[in-house]
Symmetry: C2
Subunit: 340 residues, 2 copies
């Protein structure tokens, strides 16, 4: 069963990331050059390991947000501070991925074998620390204490969210509020801080900074909800990780929470065994996917993702109309439409 089979409201807009990628091309070339320069080290395993993830690249969504926020706030000409902040944001994100993969014992990341399986968990932990420190060195160079404060706080919120997930996310009694608190901290906070720091990096006024932060936060929630839906319907090529990883790790996300509630009385023994008791087989994953998709829980998760995408769009109304604002609007839709 694939997500093609999931009913999605016909009226939903098809988003696109490409307009933003095109607009930001020149700025992102500067960000990429800085990323490659600053991940160097005389200790050979550091650039090798960093390159494995950074060069693999993914969409570089977070630094793209920093650049787009600076431009949408009206900056023209060279934007040295946002370029440095964007590289810092990507380093913080990469450090988080390295540590996450160790914590979760994941075996695939951005479509490649996870770094800790090649260089070992100790290297992943330490190179993550290195990239995190390099991020702060980049921020210091901008001389902008407010941007530093935003990204320092985001970093502590992210790790707090990861710990909360670690201790609570294998528990069927997880309530939806705690689930949203976890994804808000571990994912949406960096989207919010990336956009906010970009605006602060060009001295945007407070209303613009607040609007771009709100955009980033809601965009991050939409992306994570869509990812969590995709884990029960996607292919590993789209996802950059294996579909079903959340279930295999016993990680409780919204599609599963909803399905457990919607099949209460009928499937309690199945959820109790696979999640609470942690006894899972590959057949169990197929059964879980049937129950989750069949009960409409993937569709409901995507509906909620659309709500956040709409909130992200709405936040942009505080900004003057521009190609950048239009590209950010299409990105908000893309956060969810890429899945459906």
């Amino acid at each position: 069963m694939s997500l093609d089979a999931v009913p999605v409201a016909e009226t939903r807009r098809k988003g696109d990331v490409e307009p933003l990628v095109r607009l930001a091309g020149p700025d992102m070339a500067a960000v990429d050059a800085l990323i490659v320069e600053r991940m160097q080290s005389q200790v050979p395993v550091i650039p090798m390991l960093a390159d494995h993830l950074v060069a693999a690249g993914g969409k570089r969504l977070r630094p793209l947000l920093t650049i787009a926020a600076a431009r949408a706030a009206g900056a023209s000409g060279p934007i040295e501070a946002p370029v440095r902040l964007a590289a810092a944001v990507e380093f913080i994100h990469t450090a988080t991925l390295l540590h996450d993969d160790v914590v979760d014992s994941s075996d695939l990341r951005r479509g490649k074998v996870a770094a800790h399986l090649i260089w070992g968990a100790p290297s992943s932990v330490l190179v993550g620390d290195y990239l995190f420190a390099r991020a702060f060195e980049l921020m210091v160079e901008t001389g902008r204490m407010r941007a530093l404060g935003i990204l320092a706080t985001a970093s502590s919120v992210i790790s707090e969210g990861e710990v909360l997930q670690l201790t609570r996310a294998h528990d069927l009694n997880l309530d939806q509020a705690t689930y949203l608190r976890i994804i808000s901290a571990k994912t949406a906070e960096l989207f919010a801080a990336a956009a906010e720091a970009g605006a602060v990096g060009v001295d945007a006024d407070d209303a613009t900074v607040a609007a771009l932060r709100a955009y980033g936060l809601n965009l991050g929630l939409a992306f994570q909800l869509a990812d969590d839906a995709l884990d029960y319907g996607g292919q590993s090529e789209v996802l950059g990780k294996n579909a079903g990883d959340d279930f295999r790790e016993g990680k409780v996300t919204l599609p599963l929470l909803l399905a457990a509630a919607r099949t209460r009385g009928r499937e309690d023994a199945f959820w109790d065994r696979t999640i609470n008791k942690g006894e899972r087989t590959e057949d169990d994953f197929r059964r879980a996917r049937e129950l989750i998709v069949g009960s409409g829980s993937v569709a409901a998760t995507l509906d909620l993702a659309w709500d956040y995408a709409d909130l992200a769009r709405d936040a942009l109304s505080a900004l003057p109309a521009s190609d950048w604002r239009a590209a950010l609007e299409r990105l908000a839709d893309f956060a969810v439409s890429r899945v459906a």
Copy 2:
């Protein structure tokens, strides 16, 4: 065989940390209160795990250096920025310890069971990240970008040193220069940055800042060399970890490097088997200790430690005479005399 049996030059001064601890008492009470306040979190495992290490305390040498540097540079009255920087330094250090213990699979830290054995390696990795981020939040509050730059760079140097140690320190062909580069990065850099940041935190002049950085760097080298010597002669109560841990982990430190060179032709098979091939028993540790102490390699390591302690003392001559300077001089001697 204990280190009592190791000949140490009679003329060496007996140092003491207590004069500095007494002088810094009121300032360190403020640092401790800030540490306890900032390691709180609504996610319960975070303060539990942080408290396990932070409350166990150790000597709090690094934040003590930050405070002492600010005072020795002439600051009187309240020193709000150095207090915040000192708490940040302790958080960076604690984060490093948490990650190190995961990387090395150590089972004892500060005389207590290592945190990762109680709460699991994932929690240690993530709470380390949390404390690191909290450190940067504290630094941002001081509004002092120069101090932030010092501690950001120190953090990247430390993790680089840790990776270098990970990839090179199990190799008998490690040369003394690389060994010194490793301990300079992984230990002495934070001592140097802690003292430098304290001086910068009270706007000391450049000569004073440079002198206090040099003091911290040489003090750190003296401490680490003495620790490495102690690992072949100390008791776990003094060391806060198990004597012999370096050997058990196959970690090549100066005492072992010197002993392997000094017993060349006689004991090559022993070192090759235990270090290069990694086949080690408890009997091998006793044999290694005999060879290391018997060949004078512990004494030679302590002699080098004394050289750095002297350099640390010398650096202080740039500062005006004061009780604080005198206490720092006694701390330099203590770095080594605590062992002999």
